[in-house]
Amino acid sequence: MATIQVEIVSAEEAIWTGTGVMVFAPAEMGEVGIAPQHAPLLTRLKPGEVRVQQENGDEQFFFISGGLLEVQPNQVTVLSDTAVRAADLDEAQALEAQQKAERDLQDKTSKMDLAKAKAELIQATAQLRALQKLRQTRR
């Protein structure tokens, strides 16, 4: 029986590699079934289930939260997204990052003043100590 090489990968890990006789995937235009020697195809995937029917009758199931399907005559690749995106969460995090930058830039002036003050203090202390030593040796 003709088989097709199947690879399911995400940006974080290689999820599964194997062979199958038929692959079902939740394409944007509806579920597609890919058999060996399918014409080359590239399509978006909706969140849903990817099913691989293997030679021995086993079925492998994978839930994906979206992605891309690339089909070549002998190979099917599912480029899976890793998580469902929440636009609001992104925005909140982005805003926080920007505010952090502003705070850090403002902190800089106060940090610099502190550093300068520390340096002057150290210098003054050293001078004082040197002066005391000088006085002691003179006696």
Binding site: L41, E70, L79, D90, A94, D104
Partner: protein, 287 residues
């Protein structure tokens, strides 16, 4: 003159330091392996997506590329740089090297540079040098997921799409091997698809159409590149820390040995002096 007791105390403190640095070195080694593994895991996705983009970009122009903002080259008036650096120190010269490289890059540009900083070490450098810091991300941890970096790549894509930056670069430390890490600055946007030879080309069917597919895939590509740069930075950081801590452990051991020699010599001297006193005293008594 320090006493034998003082030196012994010092030796003990040095030995303890050596134990800490040794532990840190071992921990960093295992974290480095994990980070390296994460880089390898992401490679099949990365290669495939680049391949697909190359095919899409090579389409007979039904203006697919022309209408894709992320592929468009513009005259460069402002640029943005994502700087990825460690949050913590004790990793040898790594962050200093990166900061130097980034500093040089920014000076070489003839145009204003905006910075997005990931990691405290880079952030501190940017703050100190008075850069135009747009956003700061820290505490991403040692095992970030792609999800953690999506907000960063989205921000960069927005900067580019809204013409606040005409080019976007990413500066990070590339992991070559345990002993070799290199700071690099690479261009992220606009995307330059790789060229395909005639033999490599595949005539895909695109559903619904190539434009829509391209639109979906380009941001994914940027996300993956940012994620990948972060993973490499982490691997570099851990291996640099491992080496630095190993050196510190060796130094501590050496120092302990040197101090022990000094202590023993001191002990011998004091014993000799006591004996001389004793013998001298006895000689007087016998007379």
């Amino acid at each position: 003159m320090p006493s034998v007791r003082d030196i012994r105390r010092r030796i003990r403190s040095v030995e303890n330091t050596g134990k800490v640095t040794n532990a840190m070195s071992l921990i960093a080694a295992s974290k480095m392996r994990r980070a390296q593994n994460a880089v390898l895991q992401g490679r099949p996705y990365s290669e495939k997506i680049q391949d697909v983009i190359a095919h899409l970009a090579a389409q007979p122009s039904d203006d697919a590329s022309a209408s894709q903002p992320l592929l468009q080259v513009r005259p460069v008036e402002r640029i943005a740089v994502l700087v990825i650096s460690p949050d913590r120190g004790l990793c040898g010269g790594m962050h200093a090297n990166l900061n130097r490289r980034v500093g040089q890059f920014m000076l070489d540009q003839g145009v204003p540079v905006q910075v997005v900083a990931v990691g405290r070490k880079g952030r501190d450098f940017m703050v100190r040098s008075g850069s135009d810091l747009r956003a700061v991300f820290t505490d991403l941890g040692e095992t970030p997921s792609l999800f953690d970096t999506v907000v960063i790549s989205d921000m960069l894509v927005d900067l580019y799409a809204e013409s606040e930056a005409d080019e976007v670069y990413v500066a990070y430390t590339r992991f070559n091997s345990t002993l070799s890490q290199t700071p690099v600055v690479e261009r992220l946007l606009p995307i330059t698809p790789s060229e395909l030879t005639g033999a490599e080309r595949v005539g895909y069917i695109y559903e619904p159409d190539s434009l829509v597919v391209l639109q979906r895939i380009l941001p994914r590509f940027i996300e993956m590149q940012v994620y990948h740069a972060l993973l490499e930075s982490i691997a570099s950081e851990q291996s640099a820390r491992m080496v630095a801590m190993r050196n510190a452990t060796d130094n501590a051991k050496q120092l302990g040995e040197d101090l022990t020699l000094v202590m023993n010599k001191l002990r011998q001297e004091s014993i000799t002096n006591e004996l001389l006193d004793l013998v001298g005293g006895m000689a007087v008594l016998e007379k």
